[in-house]
Amino acid sequence: MRAAVALVAAAAVVTALTATTAARADGVDAYFQAGAGATMVPGNDLHVGSATSVGARQVSGSLRVPSNTFYASAEIGFGLQTKHVVIPVLSLGTSSSVGLYDEQRSSIDGSIAHIRPWTGDLYDFGFGGLGYRTNYRRWTFAATGRFGVTYETMGADAAYGSSTYDLEPAQWFAYVRLDVEACRRLDPLERICLVASPNVFAFDQTFHGGMLSFRYELGK
């Protein structure tokens, strides 16, 4: 676990590259961006579909995923912005778990199950939001609320006798995130940003988990 934290910390300082179009102060502009960072996902329940064969059994139900799984995440997206308003339109993200994990013993419908946190994947689909941005000398500050859905999968199996049978736990989750960012202009074209994106609501929980990233921007 200690190793996982260290590795995620390393991932958190990975520089993200973001290319934005210039935002004119007197109009609405589209922007495009790509970014990367580290995500912490709280424990949640994944669903195993009905009639999943485990030996002579058919199981279905929820499979508890261990808390605080860490992911390296990448995201692309575009939106609209004015001098003070940010409107994210669409974003696509993918994440893969990072770190060293023990196999987790759990259960589903009475059968002993094993979860492999190192196989976890997230797929984010953001489709809207609203934010406010302001400038102060060389700094730009922004806070943007975004919503969308996340599809989470993780490798797992269940025991029947001496054998194991693969499960395919997965779940859709709605999310609302708050991107709070502070950017410092390095020169007229370059900015470096620190972005904290706590989950307001995600994985059926409130205020648990989120994403932290540094971002490098190009643009006026």
């Binding site: 013993r105 059968s111 025991a159």
Partner: protein
């Protein structure tokens, strides 16, 4: 590397070089997520003891606070019907000793029931054909029912362990249990029965259809589903926790579909293990299993269901596989049987008391609310 490939593809630039050092993987260990998922549901818990008395090891364990927190009831699998309609043990000395044992267990706060095991004169072998023959005789049934009803006045009830019956013994078994229940009514004692772990109808267990579950549930106070010996003949776990759930659910659905929704059930978990070799198997205690591992220099491996397994070759060049439960596996089962899986009214029978890992009851007690 597949994860890294994906990241790079999405980003199109090698942004995550630092993450390449963090290729996600297993530590090779296992963490018990169940242990952190909350307490074990508090269920009616019974231990089965083979025999009419307890030894010093068992006495010590039974007196421990952890055991008393976990266990409420003890079944002494002690009695055996005989062909002449009597019940063994029959000599006064044995009966006096049994009464003393019941008294001392009562003093520790346990409910004590006597198990009636339909074994032959060897005391260890079930002969279902012989038992079926006996049960088919109304005279024999009446004599045995009377003998049981008059036995050990201080015990709190009786439980029947009938195995290897042919399916056609169904009616006579049902009649016997009903008549015994009637015979016990004056004393206020109840009778329970261990049934084979069928998961379907017709039964998938040899002899399983000898048990008319709705009729038996109507005349007993508890249907104890003997979810034991999952692996017979080939090495494997003594219990599969999911299979055990299915067996209890089948009993519940069979009985409730006949209109009885108040019947009580038990699920069983083993405290012993098996040593499989050359198409034979013999039961082993936890101490014996661990000693075999030490003797032959073999470390046990955790099986998918949580049991311990070790393989060794003895001095006669015979290969053995030992599968046994320990505190960890038993606690895991009890966690897996959460109340969303089995109603809290379903009790647990821990079978083979005295063969267990010494940490078992402390481990369970720690996990209880």
């Amino acid at each position: 590397m597949s994860h890294l490939t994906k990241w790079m593809f999405v980003l199109s630039v090698p942004l995550l070089g630092a993450c390449s050092a963090s290729s996600t993987t297993s530590t090779g260990g296992e963490t018990d997520l169940l242990a952190g998922s909350g307490p074990i549901p508090r269920r009616s818990t019974t231990i089965e003891i083979d025999g009419c008395s307890t030894d010093a090891w068992q006495d010590e364990t039974l007196a421990a606070s952890a055991t008393r927190k976990v266990v409420q009831e003890i079944i002494l699998m002690c009695l055996a019907p005989r062909e002449d309609g009597t019940i063994a043990p029959g000599d006064p000395s044995a009966r006096d000793a049994l009464d003393a044992t019941i008294g001392s267990l009562h003093n520790l706060g346990y409910t004590v029931r006597l198990g009636v095991s339909f074994v032959d004169e060897t005391g260890a072998r079930f002969d279902g054909v012989q038992t079926a023959s006996w049960l088919s005789s109304s005279g024999w049934r009446t004599a045995v029912e009377s003998a049981i009803a008059g036995y050990a006045p201080d015990c709190d009830g009786f439980d029947l362990d009938v195995e290897r019956l042919p399916d056609d013994a169904r009616d006579s078994l049902t009649a016997f249990v009903g008549e015994l229940s009637t015979a016990l009514q004056p004393s206020g004692k109840r009778v329970g029965i261990f049934v084979l772990p069928s998961t379907q109808s017709p039964s998938d267990v040899s002899g399983g259809d000898a048990f008319d579950l709705p009729a038996l549930a109507a005349v007993t106070d508890r249907i104890r589903v003997a979810t034991l010996d999952f692996s017979v003949g080939t090495p494997g776990p003594t219990l599969d926790s999911g299979w055990a759930v299915d067996a209890v659910r089948f009993a519940q659905s069979t009985v409730s579909s006949a209109g009885n929704t108040t019947a009580l059930y038990d699920i069983a978990a083993p405290l012993y293990g098996w040593d499989f070799s050359q198409n034979t198997q013999r039961s082993v205690t936890w101490l014996e299993a661990t000693a075999l591992g030490e003797t032959y220099g073999v470390a046990p491996q955790r099986m998918p269901g949580g049991e311990e397994e070790l393989a060794y070759t003895d001095e006669y060049d015979i290969k053995h596989t030992v599968v046994y439960d320990d505190a960890s596996s038993t606690t895991t089962f009890l966690h897996a049987w959460d109340t969303s899986t089995l109603p809290q009214q379903v009790g647990v029978v821990l079978w083979g008391f005295g063969a267990e890992d010494p940490e078992t009851f402390a481990s369970i007690a720690k996990a209880l609310p």
